[in-house]
């Protein structure tokens, strides 16, 4: 177990800042997900922690010790790559034992450690297999075992399940979470999959253009995204442009009263927190598309001004494209200039 501290971590490639003064504290045994779109700098941060990239500025500390200039082979970190990066000329046992041999452990000790870690990742008895004889999921387990066997202080996972199919990905991420909790190892996990981050992480760090947008627990991040970007990136968020005058929304469909200065803003609400019912009169939205996901129905709705929003519809109602509906959003958030307004809307009801 270990504590990881990033202070003002910066990385530039050819004059372009891809990581901008990132500050982050990861506590003992915590699993933190770095989440962001492609090019947000999440893998670069992980590679700097692993020692594969030299930071342009800032410092990396593990248990208070500055490791910024320490090469990867002497860092107390273990990295699992997206491509598995197994050595095809070695069998499974040799892949896992490689690091232990370099540490001059006895043969008996190596055997016992490798067998224990193979058992841990559910591959007991696979030691003599060639890596190309394994499935993608098994290969990734070997890669995880290869890192874990060296008992690193910090485990770094760089989109480890990106090349696997959905079912396998879900199963493996649960297994990784179990192993991480059992060993209590401090872990940093890079992903661009929000589901993966929400399912795995103790905390999520959302990155955009090399800078941290928000760091919080998954539930807090989902319920109160601090910026418009986070709101749109984590799950689906309906964002409806409006303006406020004398503390009231000028939008007729959403009569909100908020203590806020006059000016433009965006009303935000989740599809699952949006009530929809067939309109008694003219209604204020038109059903554009109905999609049945099995677990729920998603309705794509067009508001009067053409803004398209999503809502979950009751399965008991026969929804049809072109149908007029009334929309009642709940748990409404308000954004101005891309930032969440701390003021809570007093009411969030659709206009009658």
């Amino acid at each position: 177990m270990a504590r990881l501290t990033l202070s003002g971590l910066t990385k530039s490639f050819g004059g372009l800042d891809v990581v901008k003064a990132v500050d982050l504290e990861v506590t003992d045994g915590e699993l933190v997900c770095l989440l962001g779109p492609s090019g947000s700098g999440k893998s670069t941060i992980l590679r700097m922690i692993g020692g594969f990239e030299v930071p342009s500025g800032g410092a990396i500390r593990i248990d208070g010790e500055d490791v910024t200039a320490v090469p990867p082979e002497r860092r107390p970190t273990g990295m699992v790559f997206q491509s598995h990066a197994l050595w095809s000329h070695m069998d499974v046992f040799a892949n896992i034992a490689f690091g232990l041999k370099l540490r001059h452990l006895s043969r008996a000790e190596i055997r016992s450690k490798v067998e224990a870690v193979l058992e841990l990742v559910g591959l007991a008895g696979y030691g003599s297999r060639r890596v190309w004889q394994l499935s993608g999921g098994q290969q990734q387990r070997v890669a995880i075992a290869r890192s874990l066997v060296l008992e690193p202080k910090i485990l770094l996972l760089d989109e480890p399940f990106a090349s696997l199919d959905q079912h396998l990905r879900e199963r493996l991420r649960e297994e990784v979470r179990d192993i991480q909790q059992r060993l209590g190892i401090t872990t940093l996990f890079v992903t661009h999959g929000q589901d993966e981050a929400l399912a795995l992480a103790d905390r999520i760090v959302v990155l955009k253009d090399g800078a941290i947008e928000q760091t919080d627990r998954p539930s807090a991040l989902y319920r109160r995204p601090a910026t418009r970007f986070v709101a749109g990136f984590i799950g689906h968020m309906n964002l409806v442009p409006t303006a406020f005058q004398a503390g009231r929304s000028t939008r007729p469909e959403f009569a909100l009263a908020v203590e806020v200065s006059d000016g433009p803003a965006e009303i935000a609400f989740r599809p699952e927190a949006t009530g929809v019912r067939p309109a008694q009169g003219a209604g204020h939205a038109l059903v554009y598309r109905v999609t049945d996901f099995g677990t729920h129905l998603t309705l794509d709705l067009d508001l009067e001004d053409g803004t398209r929003i999503k809502a979950h519809g009751a399965g008991s109602i026969a929804w049809a494209p072109g149908q007029r509906v009334e929309v009642t959003p709940a748990e409404v958030l308000l954004y101005r200039d891309g930032v969440l307004l701390s003021t809570e809307p007093r009411t969030a009801a659709a206009a009658a």
Binding site: F81, S83, A85, W87, H89, R146, L150
Partner: protein, 292 residues
Amino acid sequence: MTDAVTTAPVRMSIQRRGLTGLLLVLFPVGLLGWLILYPILNALVTTLTLRTDQGLVLSLDSYASFFSDPYSLNNLALTFWTTAVCAVLLLVICLPIALYLRFSRGPLSAYVQALAIFPLFVPSVILAYALIRTLGPNGLVDILLNAAGLPKLPSPYLTPWGPVIGLVWDNIPLTVLMLTAGLGQVSDNAVEAARDAGARPRHLLLHIILPQIINALLVALAFAVLGIFSSFTLPYVLGPASPEMMGPYMQRTFADLMQPRMAITQAVITFAICAVFGAFYVRSVIRSREVR
């Protein structure tokens, strides 16, 4: 009944496609037979038979003559020595260059690559005369040493080291290109994973990189060895008159001594030795495909 009706046209279509494929490869295969297989068979028949009053009889006398002649054996030994020394030098010179080209990130690598490939564009005979002008008696090196007031160095020109220098220089581009291509199969992540496990540069080379490029290494060396063993121009211009490498020896036996049967025997022996290296190459290719 229905099955028979529906599968018959499919079978005919497959047969027609197979025939088209065969026709497509017929010309290159025919050319291969005419230009390569026929001369080999012809050479074997010529050297293994003797025309007597009783007609054509099987005879190993030309091979017996070659292997009992100390001069021929010395020439063969020199050819082996030159090939082995060149192969070792090529490995020692080209592997570091290829490693640098594969793993360096700076702009300098483009210049190094251009420099390593440069000999590819220099004809062997030009190279030979350039080496004579540089390393030969009263060449550039001698002039510079003399200007500095230093004694002359023994020149490699007309010694076994003359062809070695020329052949190594000549084979650097192909060997570097093939090794760089082989190193391309070693992913950055594979190297980084090894460093992550604690591997230092020496461990990386011995345990991760070399085992993964062993087939590329064998292929590169097989190609170099095949070319060097049967080389002619550089040994002819730079090498000693006696003993001499098999290439110039064959030419002299054929044109100066006018012994075509003996020259063909030397060619068959050279070919047989090269075929062994060729078999190494084929085995390496098959093994790398099996792993893939």
